[in-house]
Structure formats: C-alpha cells, structure tokens
C-alpha cells in the first residue's frame, strides 16, 4: 500500500513555544491510525496541521505525494479530507437535513455552480436522506441543529463527514464529552459505519483506550510534541512508556 498522507519533519510552535517537534509520519491508503497522548502532547496541533487549520512552522504535509502544506482547510476538504471536531461544529441555524445536504453538496468534487438552486440538486437530497437513515437521524431530520443534544450533535457531525466520501477521514476525539454508556454505544455505531467504508483512511485522536482498540490498527503515542512510540493498539497499550505517561511522568 502506498502512503496517502505523509508528514515530513513537521514542527509547529506558537510564539516560539514548540507544540509539535519534527514529526515524521506516514499513513498508508486505507489505514486506521490513532494518535494518542496525554493533554498537551501536541495531538490537537498535529491534527490541525493535517487538516490545514494550522500551517506548520517547518516541514511538509503531502497527500498522495502532493505537497499541500500551504493549502487551506477548505482546499484540503475539496481534495478529499473531511473531519469532525472535538466539540461538534454544526450549522446551528440549519436543520439536521440541511447540514447533511450541505456536506454532501460540498464533498466529493462535484461541479457545484454558485447560482444553482438548492432544489436542482435532487440526487444530493437523495444521498442526504440515505445518509440520515444510515446514521439513525431520520427522525431528527427537521430539527434545528442548535437544539440537538450532545450525542446527536456528534452523530450528525459524523454523518456529515462520512457523506462527503472523503479519502481521509479525521476524527478528533469521537467520544469526547460522552458518558461511559453513550461512548460505548457511539463507538459500536462508529465501527459499524466505518466497516462499511473500508476505502477510507482514518486518523483519529482519542483518550479512550476502548475507542482505540475497536477503531485503530496502528497507534502513535505523542508526548511533548514528539512521537515517542508506535505500534499496534495492544503493543502501545501494554508498553511501559504509555503507562508512565498516562500515570504522569513523576509517578514511576
């Protein structure tokens, strides 16, 4: 398998304070990678660098061998990258159905002309309704996003990311803010959804080991902005370094 995403010597600092230091990372096409690490390890910054929200201070980001370091997040999205946020971001005044429609419309390099009426995209509305059914959101179709509960917000954002048929799907803390039960259910639902789309490359950040075990094939452990360990979920979970980091560096 060829690398769909490549980070070459990527560093990012804020006002001289390094958040990510010289990270090299290759993600194979169709791979499922989890980036983990304690708070402040640089996961979110690295994630933002991949998504195009932060421009790295040094280094390059390549997608399919093409340098996209200077591309904005919207450009990368059009090129096949979709993401969810740690705290779900939605179009709050639009209904659930409109949110998914807009995602379906903007995803997948369609020829959207700005003067097109919304009705003229009949096939996109059909696709929207299928995605809503897939995500179990049909009953909430006409609910305005701002009045959704936390769990439904996450589900909707996931449906929006998936309906875009991205080559690379970025999931930032997919179960953040959920209780134990909800997180279990959401992880199972997510796994079922993603297993239908084996063509997608998935990169996720997570705290929750159960999420990592059920969704990831490879884990990268970060600490102090650097990659300190890499391997299968089992290997990383059992490793001394991981235990030390998660228990706090002073504990051992």
């Amino acid at each position: 398998m060829s690398a769909i995403l490549q980070l070459e010597n990527v560093s990012k600092s804020y006002d001289g304070v390094p958040a990510v230091r010289a990270v090299d990372l290759q993600v194979a096409d169709g791979e499922r990678l989890a980036i983990i690490g304690p708070n402040g390890a640089g996961k979110s910054t690295l994630f933002g660098t991949i998504a195009g929200e932060h421009r790295p201070t040094t280094g390059r980001v390549l997608v399919n061998g093409r340098d996209v370091t200077k591309h904005r997040s919207s450009t990368r999205a059009v090129a096949g990258m979709s993401r969810t946020f740690q705290v779900a971001r939605l179009m709050s005044t639009m209904t659930v159905r409109e949110n998914v429609f807009l995602a379906a419309l903007t995803g997948g390099r369609r020829g959207v002309r700005w003067w097109d009426t919304l009705r003229s995209h009949r096939e996109v509305w059909d696709e929207t309704d299928l995605a809503l059914a897939d995500a179990g959101l049909l009953e909430l179709s006409d609910t305005v996003a701002s009045s959704l509960a936390q769990g439904a917000r996450k589900t909707l954002e996931m449906a929006m990311a998936v309906v875009q048929r991205p080559a690379i799907l970025l999931l930032d803390e997919p179960t953040a803010g959920m209780g134990y039960e909800d997180a279990r259910a959401a992880t199972a639902q997510l796994k079922a959804l993603l297993d239908q789309r084996r063509d997608m490359t998935i990169i996720l950040t997570a705290h929750d080991m159960e999420v990592i075990h059920s969704l990831a094939e490879r884990v990268v452990l970060m600490a102090n902005g650097e990659v300190v360990l890499e391997g299968t979920p089992d290997y990383v979970a059992r490793h001394e370094t991981t235990k030390t980091l998660y228990l706090g560096q002073g504990a051992s």
Binding site: A51, F85, L90, H121, A149
Partner: protein, 335 residues
Amino acid sequence: MLQRAGVPLLAGFALAAVLMPLVFSGSSLFTWTTAAAWVLFATATSVLFGWTGLLSFGQAAFFGMGAYTMALLNQEVPDLPGVAMLVVAAAVAAVVAALFATFALRTSGAEFAILTLVLAQVLWLLIYRVPWLKGEDGFSGLFQIKILGSPLTSDLQLWYYTIAVVAVCVWLLWLLSGSTLGMAMRAVRDDPWRAAALGIRVRGVQVTAYAVSAGFAAVAGALVAQGQGVVSPAMVTFAISGEILVACLIGGMGRFVGPMIGAVVLIWSQTMLANVFHDSNVFVGLLLLVIVIALPDGLVSIPARIRGRRRPARRATVPSDVSVEEPSPVSEVVR
C-alpha cells in the same frame, strides 16, 4: 415551487405598485418611493449582516457611492438611460467593495466592523477634499432620468420606476437566498470553521457577500438620488449606516421580508414624526429599544409569538439519549 421562484414576492410588489397610487399621492407617494429604495437598501444590508453574519458600520459608503456615481453620470453622460446608470453604480460599488473586503477580511468581528466604518468616513472626507465631488454643496437640480428615451416627469412615474427596479433587485436577492451560494453564506455565518472543513472557501464567500451587498446598496442610493434630485455628503454619514442596521433589527433578519418591513417602518416613522418632534431619531431609538427588549427577533417574529402563546412548550428540544442509545439501522441499509 411558486414560492421558491419568488412569485408571492413579485406579486406583493405588483400589488403595492398598483395600490399605493390609489391611496397616496403627492408627498405621501414620494415617501413610499423613498421607502421602496430603503427596502432594497435594507435587504442588501441583510445579505451581509443577516445571512453572512458580517457586521458593517459603513453601509452608507456604498449607498453614497451609488448616489454619487449617479450624480456624476448624470452630469457627464446625461443621455445614458436611468437603468444603465443604476447598473454602473452597482458595478462601481461592488468592485470597490470586493477590493476593500479582500484586505479588510484579514480581520474579523469588531475589527472588521471598525474598518468598514473607516471606509465610509474616508469616502465622506473625500467628498470634501476632491473638488469635483463638490463638498458640502453636493449635486442638485432635478435629474432627468430617461426611461425608454423620455424623462420621468411626475411623482407617479417615479413611483412606478422605483418600485419596478426595487422589485427586480429584491427578487434577485430572493433567488440568491435560495441558491447554493446563499446556503454557503449561512454556513459561514453559523460556523466558519465547520464551513471551511466542509470545503467552503470562507473568505471568498464573505467577499462575495460584501460585494453583492454593496452593489445593491448602491442601486438603492442611486434610486434615492434619482428621486430626490439631490446628492449630498449627508448620504454618506454614519447616521445612514446606523439607520439601515436599525431597520434590519426592527424588522428582524430571521425572515427574508424582515428588513423590508423594518425599512418601511423606519422611513414612515421618521417622516411622520419629523413634523411632530424636532429630532425624530429619538423616537426611532426608543422603538429600537422596545423591540430589542420585547421582540429580539424583530417585527417579523410577531406571528410566531402569537402562535407560540397559544401553544406553549413547543420547544424543539430532544431528549439526550435519542440518537446514541438507539441501535443504528446501519446494517439494515444496503448501500
């Protein structure tokens, strides 16, 4: 279907065009003519303020730019048809707006709002500094607007002309609101991060919204200039920028017609109260205060309010366990 195409909207304008002259004449009809231009101004402003979520304190810049472009065209090429002058005015304002916004939108929120104010104030100063803009005196003398080769000569003709132009422009904005660009504008307003992550070029949409808003504001300014036959620096003052925001807020931007209603209320209350009070803006200020407190979504929210009172507890809240706890139908849907 008809609604999407804006048929009720056009019908409303046609009805107003026919009915107003039956009820009003002379100066009252002229007030309606001014109100019609402000209806367009308010709708244009809500493209920016309401749909795209960009606050501008300098809408008078484009309103005035339209008026001054009209005045200069009238002076230099008086044979140009009135409608052509409007098109030129719109184009000038839209180009200036697009160039300005490309730079100004490197900032956001309050900083952007202040920059728009600066633009309007710079234009206002230029009018005093550049000789051919005639400073305080402005341009006066009735403009001879030529429609189909002959000038308009009465309040009634001016009314028909103005309402027709406003109807077409507002209808175009209606179509915009139902287009993919209109939806992208709302997405950018709701959450620019999400919009960008979906692949929407946020800055591009904002610049476009600013240019569209400016273009139609310029048409409104040009219409007012054509109607009143006077163009002065008063059209570029902060008062105008403020009043159009007030009109949007009074009417409410939750619905397309809100700013239009707000504009009519604003112009009429100013006109009627100018005879009673020395400064009618005191009343307008009070009206705004009452509306912000009692009807934060503006006058258009009154019907919903009344319905809401009859049927209370109609909040669209969803129990927290709806989507996550239910087993997903994923496996049942074959794709």
